[in-house]
């Protein structure tokens, strides 16, 4: 079996039928990590017990127990998720050394399904970034060309998966952090509808926007892993009780008559020619398959980036207040604790423990919530957010799936945008509105740029309609130029 191309289903059956052991599968990926991770810096931590964990799965199979649909499937987890007994740092110095005594619900569900957690993946610090350059643990590189960024914030997940250091990964998406790096690295990434996937144990960046999802090599694997991690969790009151469909079983590439929406505001020639070329060719394929094209307008999309940053920074300024050097993680060194003023104790620890971008956003958010500015910034953004959601609700009365580019450009060079925060923020123009409205969104690889970097397209659905975007992605995947390609990392 070629473990680089095998699906979850293939590997899980082979492991259950004892054609290959979970331990062997795990060892195969550990070897790849050993060989390739130094060039990519995709991992912040490799699980030294991974083989032992896999042996437990093998032992269960040997004793005749049903070990679930992901038996022996090797997963890497973004460092934003808590993993019991494994460091969980959110890419930040302030959580250096933090080892949680609990698993995020997503991780617990993967383990219960038989998956092996092979390690933790690099990311922008607290998921604040679009290039993985804000990680305290060094920037991760794009496996298609290591001069380029893998995207962010789930850059480690995208790079590890594209170079097949893992069979599947989990990322998180607050304003595009699954879809954008998936797009830059040529893999499939899905951000589920807000409320589908438990946030318990996922380090919060912006609570009303954060959502975890799979970043994998195929639409089939995306569907399979999505159905395992979705569903109500009693530890997260923002999860919905909707029943979870069998996405993988229901996959259907026949999209004849499906209404595909094109948003006017996304089509105004804002993108790089390579992106437009790939987008147009995917669009033509959809038409060929019999999809019906509907033109739409969602005027407030133009304001999605400001709305997103005002809201996410406000929430983050509060969510990150718990990192104070009292209970866990980093604390500045004080010669004599008994003579330290409490305010200095906090300010030193937080000033030293957070990186520049995180501090910038905490400052922005604190400002937006502070007395005299609340109405103009945070509250105003939330009001516009409701109007935006309403416009999406109207749009989805006219179409099933919205079709758009993921980003305006393919992956950019390391260092190219990191000096100008505003320029970096505007990079999120096509992805943030999905989170603001709480919709489902997906990135699926389709073509290559002139510099041989992958380019994908984005599919967006109304709440809880993930099956529709999975089906369209499944149809597109069959004619994609990227599907099945693995970059050569030197």
């Amino acid at each position: 079996m070629d473990l680089l191309t095998a699906s979850f289903q293939d590997v899980s059956s082979a492991v259950k039928n004892k054609k290959i052991s979970a331990a062997e599968v795990t060892q195969f990926f550990l070897n790849r990590i050993d060989r390739l991770n130094p060039q990519l810096n995709a991992f912040t931590h490799v699980n030294i017990n991974a083989v032992a964990d896999a042996e437990l799965v093998d032992a269960e199979i040997a004793s005749g127990k049903n070990t679930g649909p992901l038996s022996g499937v090797v997963f890497g987890i973004k460092d934003m998720l808590c993993t019991k007994g494994m460091p969980s740092t959110a890419g930040s110095k302030i959580l250096q050394g933090f080892i949680p005594p609990y698993d995020a619900t997503v991780v617990a569900r993967l383990k219960k399904a038989g998956a092996i957690i092979i390690g933790k993946l690099n990311q922008d610090e607290f998921a604040m970034g679009s290039s993985n350059e804000t990680s305290f643990y060094g920037n991760c590189k794009n496996p298609w060309n290591t001069d380029f960024v893998p995207g962010g914030s789930s850059g480690g997940s995208a790079a590890a998966q594209a170079s097949r250091l893992t069979m599947g990964t989990i990322g998180t998406d607050t304003g595009g952090s699954i879809r954008q790096p998936s797009n830059f690295c040529g893999i499939v990434g899905i951000k589920p509808t807000y409320g589908r996937v438990s946030r318990y144990g996922i380090i919060s960046y912006a609570s009303s926007l954060d959502q975890a999802g799979p970043m994998v090599s195929s639409v089939t694997d995306a569907a399979k892993s999505l159905e395992i991690i979705c569903g109500h969790d009693e530890n997260d009151s923002t999860t919905v009780k909707n029943s979870v469909e069998e996405f993988s079983k229901n996959l259907n590439p026949n999209i004849k008559g499906l209404k595909i929406g094109l948003i006017k505001e996304f089509m105004l020639g804002q993108s790089d020619p390579d992106v437009e070329k790939v987008f147009t060719s995917a669009f033509n394929e959809l038409k060929k398959m019999g999809a019906e094209i509907v033109e739409l307008s969602i005027p407030l999309i133009e304001f999605a980036v400001p709305m997103y940053y005002l809201i996410s920074a406000s929430e983050a300024s509060s969510n990150l207040a718990r990192y104070d050097g009292v209970k866990y993680g980093f604390r500045s060194e004080f010669k004599d604790l008994s003579s330290v003023n409490l305010e200095d104790f906090y300010a030193e620890t937080r000033g030293e423990g957070f990186g520049a971008e995180v501090k910038r956003r905490i400052m922005l958010g604190t400002y937006c919530l502070s007395s005299g500015y609340f109405d103009a910034y945070y509250n105003k953004a939330c009001q516009v957010r409701r109007l935006l959601k309403n416009q999406y609700t109207e749009a989805f009365k006219k179409c099933d799936v919205i079709f758009s580019p993921v980003t305006t450009t393919p992956a950019f060079k390391i260092g190219e945008k990191s000096t100008d925060p505003l320029k970096m923020y505007l990079n999120d123009i096509f992805t943030t509105s999905t989170n603001l409205a709480g919709l489902g969104g997906m990135s699926v690889p389709f073509g290559m740029s002139s510099e041989n970097l992958p380019i994908g397209v984005q599919l967006t659905c109304a709440p809880y309609q993930e099956q529709k975007i999975l089906n369209v992605a499944y149809a597109l995947e069959k004619v994609s130029l990227v599907q099945g390609k693995v970059p050569r990392v030197y």
Partner: protein, 98 residues
């Protein structure tokens, strides 16, 4: 324009130690970002209720709320294992006045 005094006040609220150089730098960047973001001020939101989260739940008809049952899943030792400093099973911090 966000002046240094304002930036230092915000940094104090957020408990972030920043130098005066950094303050100037942050002041410039925040001003630039906010002036770009100010474009949302022109949208009419009269009588629009802010949307805080994409979800809303009906209390009596939804049991997402927890039943009042006390259960313990962790020991005090586990909760203190990551503490930078502790004494017995208590977290240790600088002297707090008042």
């Amino acid at each position: 324009m966000i002046d240094e005094k304002k930036i230092m006040h915000i940094a104090k609220l957020a408990r972030l130690k920043i130098s005066t150089d950094e303050a100037a730098h942050y002041g410039d960047q925040l001003a630039k970002v906010l002036s770009h973001f100010d474009q949302i001020s022109k949208i009419d939101t009269t009588n629009v209720e802010p949307l805080v989260s994409p979800l809303e739940i009906d209390f009596f008809n939804d049991d997402s709320f927890r039943k009042d049952i006390d259960q313990s899943f962790f020991t005090a030792e586990e909760m203190l294992e990551n503490a930078p400093d502790k004494m017995g099973n208590l977290f240790k911090v600088p002297p707090v006045v008042g």
